[in-house]
Amino acid sequence: MNWPRVILLLLLALLGVFAQATLDLPRRWLGAQPSLLPAVVVSAALNGDVALVALVAVTGGVALDALSANPLGVSVLPLFVIGFALNRWRDLLLREVAYAQAVLGALAAVGVSVAKLLLLLTLGEHPLLGWGSLWQGVVIAGAGALLTPLVCRGVENLAALFAYPVEPASSFRPDREIKRGRT
């Protein structure tokens, strides 16, 4: 496991939850509070293994539920399921292309919210829903599309700072070597 990447993703998940609880401007201006967690989970799923996805989902999900009126643990499962699915089929995805990351981020953000709502309704809770929730879904999807490529690129660049530099490939090709003398 790449430890700098793990620590960066966990820190990002916790800071994302903190920002979601303290920065109220998006809710005031757009009518919905976007979340950074789906973007972090997508980044972990595209560039890490299942253990990293589980770690980010548990840390971020439990922290989010602790500051929210959600029952504790309700956010963990949706985050993990989305991350696990992306991680399993990541070889089929254009995971290094920003456009693909944006689409995956939007889908993950909406998917996590819908899964959480279904889980809450299953548990007998009564979350606040209405026609305005559709607009909130659009805002959440837009934020996911915007944040996911940024998180992926940012984590890659920061993790590269802590890794050994990549050795540039040599221009020497043994198959093109001119061998002198008789063979």
Binding site: Q20, Q33, V58, A66, Q136
Partner: protein
């Protein structure tokens, strides 16, 4: 597996775990609070002497008026206590306010709650009313040692029995049935069929149920409609307290 374990924790244990995990964020909340205080100090240093003098004069006048109101209120209270004693009615308990700072809001879009920096160490307990200078904000839901969660009026977990001052009709404020985007609009339900509600009428807590004291201003009637094939009436209420701009609240302690 972890989700199943966490979701099946007893309510008390789950609440404690939530506050313990939430406490990890307290240093960050403190940092944000200090930053805001510094910013306020910087802003107040830029205010001119003239505007400060004007503000002082306005506050002096307001203070005089409030003193007069307080004297009249105290006299009315004494008279009320005396009459209650004469009639043999039970004396109403007095409430005193404790100020608290808002440190976080619910990160989810489907709940209307916030976190304040007072907890059981400050004498808070569940179901205490929370108000702002404009009116009722909500009630205390869960209490940790140094923080507490407040549920707003309009959240599905906060139903408030109210009375319309002009007509005397009683109802219950519930979560909005539509329009989750305007956080100040809530529904007033359980009204009689032939209700005489009009826009602009004021709504106060009725005190029924004994959880919230009566007479706290809640909101104003926006419009009303008959529901259930004309069997009852529902109204939309605009809350007086703008919960999106709250930075401090008052918790009423008995």
């Amino acid at each position: 597996m972890l989700t199943v374990v966490l979701l099946n924790l007893p309510e008390r244990a789950a609440g404690r775990t939530k506050f313990a995990i939430g406490a990890l964020f307290l240093p960050l909340f403190g940092l944000v609070g200090s930053g805001q205080t510094l910013m306020d100090l910087g802003t107040s240093a830029l205010v001119t002497r003239r505007s400060l003098t004007q503000e002082l004069e306005r506050l002096r006048q307001e203070n005089q008026q409030l003193r007069l109101d307080a004297l009249q209120g105290a006299e009315a209270r004494r008279e009320n206590d005396r009459l209650r004693q004469l009639l043999g009615w039970q004396a109403q308990p007095g409430w005193h306010a404790r100020a608290a700072k808002v440190i976080a809001r619910d990160p989810e879009n489907w709940w209307r709650t916030l976190l304040i920096d007072r907890g059981s160490r400050d004498g808070l307990r569940p179901n205490l009313p929370v108000i702002s200078p404009e009116g009722l904000v909500g009630r205390v839901a869960d209490v940790g040692p140094s923080t507490a969660q407040v549920v707003f009026v309009g959240d599905p977990k906060c139903r408030v029995p109210v009375v319309v001052r002009e007509t005397g009709e009683q109802g219950v404020i519930t979560a909005p049935s539509a329009g989750v985007l305007d956080h100040r609009l809530v529904d007033l339900t359980h009204l009689p069929r032939n209700s005489a509600l009009k826009a602009g009428q004021t709504v106060f807590t009725s005190g029924l149920g004994g959880v919230l004291p009566g007479g706290l201003p809640v909101g104003m009637v926006v419009d009303s409609r008959t529901v259930g094939y004309g069997l009852s009436t529902e109204a939309r209420i605009k809350l007086l307290a703008d919960t999106s701009r709250l930075s401090e609240v008052l918790v009423l302690l008995p």
